[in-house]
Symmetry: C2
Subunit: 233 residues, 2 copies
């Protein structure tokens, strides 16, 4: 088969994101609307013409590389967190990052197109790691791609959200974090509400840390409640 | 930026399709439900485990390479057929095949999973060329990816369908095409109904040919009506 050779792609852009590591990133986009993420096109793709008319679309597809986990390779079976980390499904029946080709696909809200100096897209609700190489941007076509009647297998709705409370220390840390964006508290609440713990870990005394911007947000989870303990620089 | 190097992907499978050339392929998937297309996984990706559980999903994403047009390169501006081939939009505001990375994305119906001898997926409504190299398969997650409220820019609905009639010659040719699939007539009608002519060609005497399976289907279009003229082997 003549066309089955490997194919090489060049990143057209890079993601700037508060998510500095995989832990804490929502398992689906749109679960954390407060995450404001920027996609910056890189030369020679950063011409304003390349995004002309894009602002007429409310949602776009981002095709990207799972760069942080690409070196780990793949296995035919994976354990999706949505199944409690216990049951196995085929890698192609999952959105796992450990795929034969480490190719990611996210539907994100297009909040703005800035062509004043190069090209920057402001994205809402994205689940993208800082530094992610982007391969393509495509407009979302609702009349073709919105299929509410589709059967979603084992992924049949958003996971139940945790209630999030703040310790006194965490509230004080937040007040002192004057260089964080205005919606930092909202981002923390949304990230913790979607329960970033690994599947099947349920130790109410265990302290986790999630990196958002330049901060380490420490928290614990008991039952259906998360508490922010402290926010360390 | 350390991760911005080119990235190389290996095809995991290949498409078997009645569409033998780009002309005639619907401009969006799902417009031609009669197109029965098979995705065959290739070694070492053809293990039944890799698709375990996939049958619980009614729709899947296929990421693929626009292999036939990849060598043509890209330009920042393209002329989408939906705008009459006249107006220009940015390549990232279109689903044009002439992209910086020739990466295609199609939402298709998953009609069957056959693991009796390797792995074959039966796909419905796909807009994929015969021989297309496939890079990834992902399940469609309706609660995240079905956004009927999204703004679809200039692509706000299916194009108006042409009425399709048959000449006596075409009907005779169809009756003689005993090695074609049972739904060949349905496929021809659906392919012609979505008006495969290049934008801005409107010559009622011009005869077009579209290759489906091993046949050349000759037709012409006047107003909102297409007529099948003959079906040549």
């Amino acid at each position: 088969m003549p066309h089955m050779q490997p194919v090489t792609f060049t990143p057209i852009g890079v993601i700037h994101s508060p998510y500095k590591e995989k832990f804490g990133i929502p398992r689906q986009p749109s679960l954390v609307p407060a995450a404001r993420i920027t996609l910056e096109l890189v030369p020679p793709f950063d011409h304003p013409d390349a995004v002309r008319g894009l602002e007429a679309f409310s949602h776009v597809w981002i095709s990207f590389v799972f760069h942080q986990t690409a070196a780990r390779g793949w296995t035919p079976l994976v354990r999706p967190p949505r199944l409690g980390g216990n049951a196995k499904v085929g890698v192609f029946a999952s959105r796992s990052t450990h795929r034969p080709n480490p190719l990611g696909l996210s539907l994100v809200e297009l909040l703005g197109v800035d062509t004043s100096n190069g090209v920057r897209l402001l994205l809402g609700g994205a689940d993208l790691l800082d530094g992610t190489p982007v391969l393509d941007i495509k407009p979302y076509i609702p009349f073709v791609e919105a299929r509410p009647e589709a059967q979603g297998g084992f992924v049949d709705g958003p996971p139940p959200a945790l209630a999030v409370s703040w310790s006194e220390q965490a509230s004080a840390d937040l007040a002192a974090a004057t260089d964080a964006p205005a919606d930092f508290a909202e981002l923390i609440v949304q990230v913790l509400a979607q329960d970033p713990r690994p599947a099947y870990q349920d130790d109410p005394e265990r302290i986790y840390g999630v990196r958002l911007y330049c901060y380490d947000v420490r928290f614990k989870v008991a039952g259906q409640s998360a508490q922010v303990l402290e926010i360390c620089r």
